[in-house]
């Protein structure tokens, strides 16, 4: 890799969907600024590169690495550790790297169950019940695929992380702002925030950016959006729609609530909150307006899939991190 004098930039995807990469490309012509100011040395989705090229780089030679995706398998962990070593600034980019996101909902099940489900459901065409092996002796030699870990982890549960950029995916305007900031820092016009900061997001919660009218909250029934005519003016939670906005970090301009859809919590916990799901759960439980245990039970039954609702993005990053069966898998 030849040096052109520009600082080096890398981006990587571990256990993720690829949405984060698309969001980066959605910054449109701003991507030219990235190219003008950085030498992109490693970005599997955008350019060809080999792991051995990265391994060959000098430690700390990459200025900025945006790492998206959770740590699901040995390969994810290996590259996370590798990029940590090679990078000056490592950013946990997007919900998966920050808090586990959807892939971490697998932490509710042991791996054998996950694999079994993936390869033998009724909709799976797999007559010989073939399941993946971590190693296979082919005529050409041993073939290996990375081993799955019992639980999905966040990036900072594996390596030291400098900054956190939440969102599923991070909003493009926030990415553009962060890139602008880094460029200004390079030009000596600005300073980096303290290590460990959350960047590309607001300090409070989605409600702060939401324009809906807010009154006192008293919930008698939880409703799903397909079953009701939503009032476009009034707070969704007050309408009985389980909106995660009160617990979710601001930064998205309340995109979902402004489209009559409840916030699902992709920007993760607000500043200083340790367990997003527990926070949201106690908040929602607090506004259920009944003292009758049977009625309360009935109201709560209106929440389908509570773990998926309250820990949709945050299971790996929560205090519990996984259910016991998943944790126990060795």
């Amino acid at each position: 890799m030849t040096s052109n004098g520009k600082p080096k930039f890398a981006m990587y995807w571990a256990a993720s969907c690829g949405g984060c990469e698309i969001s980066v490309l959605n910054i449109h012509e701003k991507i030219l600024d990235v190219d003008a100011n950085f030498d992109v040395v490693f970005w599997p989705v955008a350019m060809d590169a080999k792991y051995k090229d990265v391994e060959a780089m000098e430690d700390g030679s990459i200025l900025l690495t945006l790492f998206n995706g959770a740590i699901r398998n040995e390969e994810n962990e290996h590259i996370a550790k590798l990029l940590r070593k090679k990078s000056q600034i490592l950013v946990a980019f997007g919900s998966c790297a920050n808090e586990g996101c959807m892939p971490a909902l697998a932490n509710l099940s042991p791996i054998d169950e996950i694999v079994k489900t993936a390869f033998s459901t009724i909709s799976t065409d797999n007559p010989n019940h073939i399941q993946p092996q971590t190693s296979y002796q082919a005529p050409e030699g041993e073939l290996k695929i990375p081993k799955l870990f019992p639980i999905v982890r966040t990036l900072d549960q594996v390596v030291d992380v400098d900054y956190y950029m939440p969102g599923c995916p991070p909003e493009s305007h926030q990415i553009a702002a962060v890139i602008d900031l880094v460029i200004q820092v390079l030009q000596g016009k600005a300073e980096l925030p303290p290590k460990g900061s959350v960047i590309g997001a607001g300090p409070s919660t989605v409600c702060d950016e939401c324009t809906r009218k807010r009154g006192l909250k008293t919930i008698h029934e939880f409703k799903r959006i397909q079953h009701v005519q939503i009032d476009p003016e009034i707070c969704l939670l007050e309408q009985g729609i389980l909106c995660s906005g009160p617990a979710t970090r601001s930064g998205c301009k309340a995109l979902c609530p402004s489209a009559n859809s409840p916030c699902i919590g992709c920007y993760g916990p607000a500043e200083g909150v340790l367990d997003y799901g527990a926070r949201l759960l106690t908040a929602v439980a607090s506004v259920i307006d009944s003292n009758d245990p049977n009625e309360i039970q009935h109201i709560i039954e209106g929440i389908p899939d509570p773990v998926g609702m309250f820990y949709r993005f945050n299971l790996a990053g929560s205090l519990l991190r996984a259910s016991k069966p998943a944790w126990d898998t060795k």
């Binding site: 300090p203 409070s204 409600c207 009160p246 916990p269 607000a270 909150v273 106690t282 908040a283």
Partner: protein, 669 residues
């Protein structure tokens, strides 16, 4: 953070702790292993709460320059204040001390000494970690409103109100029924002295009614309570009496002329009638009647108005409406009393099905000279005098099918009934008891008197009361089937009349009352005192006291004593003129608050308000009691509570898990 100098003190509590926990080992461990965490001294002592134990702490604070104190002893309920005060005297901010429980949460609940010792170490480790995060706090002083509200006008409430009012302080008394007096007003005689109940009660009722320091509200209920000790705001619903009390003279003409008779289920226990416009009994206080709108012909059909026609002062007011009144009071005494166990729930005793099975309240009215029979003890037909009477003790009490507890008054009440039946009818009386409990002054002497009077006492729980005759001599009688456990024999005893000594139960709406006033109930449903021995009339909510049977079954002398005790507590507080409030408060970080309003209607003390123009919520520190409800509920983590910060709690958990001394590797994979 500057490293703290922490002192750890492990209490033996005699053998309460030292019997199950190796306190010397725990103390040595804390001194050595927690040294890195700032522990500079660790001691064990026989009774930390003794003055010598406290002096030990004070000496160390001064000589060793301690900045934190962790005492491992009993529950904070008991001695948190003791040790905080000890620290304060020695010049250390009291909130920099921490009392961790190795008695209630350790020695008392374990038998294995090795395990309990390890647990004590973990608990202390948690306390040490937590205390590092504490900050000095100063108590808030607030003035106390000298007015007291007494809720419930039975004998306990009456006593409390009079004690306070006589002490020169204003009282607002609220009673649900049209008159004060409570259950005691229904009784004929009181055990064991057989004083006339009305004769000793009514003078006190009159005093309440005429006392210049007492504002009496009857036919009224508390609907809302907010505020805190020293400054409660109470909303009272004054139900419409349909009588202008300013004009009414209590002459009683309206009651005489009212054509509508109603069965009196409350005062006469269903044995007698009252009118639709009524006072429950002639000596009622206040003297003003009420119109029972559910039964009044005018309210049902729109015509009648007999009372209005005959009222000499024009006091009847059909248009009167319910009123909501608010009162500012400093303290509240609850004395809402009890409900009678409904003996219909024991079908084999036949109450409600067999005519001559009576409840105890019915018998009280039957034997009362002012009752529906003028004190004649007769059977349900109203004329026949019974020749044999059976009295069943423990109905619905000491019975795991109904209530486990002893109702405390039934033995003596049943003996009183036996005596009255003897005296007035000469009938043979059989008392069926499980155990005879006559523990108070003069009670057992009364039992001896009954034995001399020839009452038959049969020790055994009654199995059944039936009118199905099986043997000659049983026809037309009620037969009591019982095992006499003293002779080990089944018996069938035919009687003319049965009196069931039903037990006492919490008022049907005790739970709502508890919720309204922010206090708790025991598993049996009685209201919970702050400490069963040492603080029997206070509750866990500052400024709210309880007296009488709402705390558990008790007799009249005990209820009176509790009423007076609650009054003494209240007056003591008023004399202090201001109250030091715990500085444990919640506060909202205005930068983090997004104004989602989740917390707005959670605060039991109404301390949170929403500031419209800035779109944030705020806590009023004078109203906040530091309960933590909003801290837990805030989805943004914008509310924090002093002393219970997230850092302090998480540090304590880490300490409990000994992560501070041997970090655990928890990550799988």
């Amino acid at each position: 953070m500057a490293k703290e100098r922490i002192g750890v003190y492990v209490c033996h509590c005699g053998t309460n702790i030292a019997g199950t926990v190796d306190v010397e080992d725990v103390s040595r461990w804390a001194g050595e292993v927690l040294k890195d965490r700032g522990v500079v001294i660790s001691r064990d002592y026989k009774f930390m709460c003794s003055s010598l134990g406290q002096e030990l702490i004070q000496k160390d604070i001064k000589e060793q320059g301690l900045t934190r104190v962790v005492v491992a002893a009993c529950s904070p309920h008991l001695h948190e204040a003791t040790f905080r005060n000890a620290c304060k005297i020695a010049g250390l901010n009291p909130y920099l001390s921490e009392l961790v429980s190795i008695r209630e949460q350790d020695s008392w609940v374990h038998t294995d000494k090795a395990v309990a010792t390890e647990k004590a170490k973990a608990i202390i480790s948690g306390g040490v970690e937590r205390t590092i995060w504490q900050t000095p706090l100063d108590p808030l002083k607030v003035p106390i409103n000298p007015t007291t509200m007494v809720v419930g006008g039975g004998i306990a409430g009456i006593q409390a109100a009079l004690e306070i009012a006589d002490g020169g302080f204003p009282v607002v008394m609220v009673e649900r029924e049209p008159s004060i007096g409570g259950h005691m007003a229904q009784f004929d005689k009181t055990f064991p002295t057989l004083d006339c109940s009305a004769c000793i009660l009514t003078p006190k009722m009159v005093q309440v009614g005429s006392h210049p320091n007492i504002q009496l509200l009857t036919y009224a209920e508390v609907t809302n309570v907010s505020g805190y000790v020293g400054s409660f705001q109470v909303t009272v619903k004054q139900r419409a009496r349909s009588v202008n009390v300013e004009d009414c003279t209590g002459c009683g003409i309206c009651q005489e002329k009212c054509p509508k008779k109603v069965i009196d289920e409350v005062f006469e226990a269903g044995l007698g009638y009252r009118k639709a416009v009524y006072t429950p009994f002639p000596q009622a206080v206040p003297k003003y009647p009420v119109i029972d709108r559910e039964n009044c012909t005018y309210y049902i059909k729109g015509t009648c108005k007999a009372c209005e026609k005959f009222c000499p002062t024009g006091a009847i007011n059909f248009e009167q409406e319910d009123e909501y009144l608010t009162f500012d009071v400093g303290q509240i005494i609850l004395a809402t009393g009890w409900d009678l166990f409904d003996a219909r729930r024991i079908p084999q005793y036949g109450y409600g099905r067999l005519a001559n099975v009576f409840s105890n309240l019915e018998f009280e009215r039957l034997s009362n000279a002012a009752g529906p029979t003028g004190g004649k003890i007769v059977m349900r037909d109203g004329i026949t005098v019974p020749k044999t009477v059976g009295i069943v003790h423990c109905v619905g009490s000491r019975d795991k099918n109904y209530n486990n507890y002893c109702s405390a008054i039934c033995c003596m009440q049943s003996l009183k009934f036996a005596h009255l039946v003897h005296e007035r009818t000469g009938a043979e009386v059989y008392n069926f008891y499980i155990d005879m409990r006559t523990v108070s002054k003069g009670y057992d002497e009364f039992y001896q008197r009954l034995l001399d009077e020839g009452t038959h006492f049969i020790r055994g729980k009654v199995a059944e009361i039936t009118d199905a005759a099986r043997e000659p001599g049983e026809e037309g009688k009620l037969i009591i089937q019982v095992e006499n456990t003293l002779v080990g024999k089944q018996m069938r005893i035919p009687v003319d009349m049965v009196i069931l000594s039903s037990g006492l139960e919490p008022r049907h709406d005790t739970k709502e009352v508890a919720h309204l006033f922010g206090i708790s109930c025991s598993a049996d449903g009685w209201l919970l005192e702050r400490h069963p021995k040492l603080d029997p009339v206070a509750t866990m909510t500052e400024g709210i006291f309880i007296a009488g049977c709402l705390q558990g079954p008790k007799d009249i002398p005990t209820s009176v004593a509790q009423g007076a005790a609650a009054a003494a507590r209240v007056v003591g507080k008023i004399q202090q003129k201001e109250i030091s409030m715990e500085p444990i408060k919640a506060s909202i970080n205005q930068d983090k608050c997004s104004g989602c309003r989740i917390c707005n209607n959670l605060c039991p003390f109404n301390a949170i308000s929403f500031i419209e123009d800035r779109m944030v919520s705020e806590v009023n520190p004078a109203l906040c009691q530091g309960c933590g409800t909003c801290v837990a509920a805030c989805p943004a983590g914008a509310i924090s509570g002093t002393v219970f910060s997230d850092q302090a709690i998480l540090a304590q958990i880490d300490g409990l898990l000994l992560k501070n001394v041997k970090p655990l590797e928890l990550v799988a994979g």
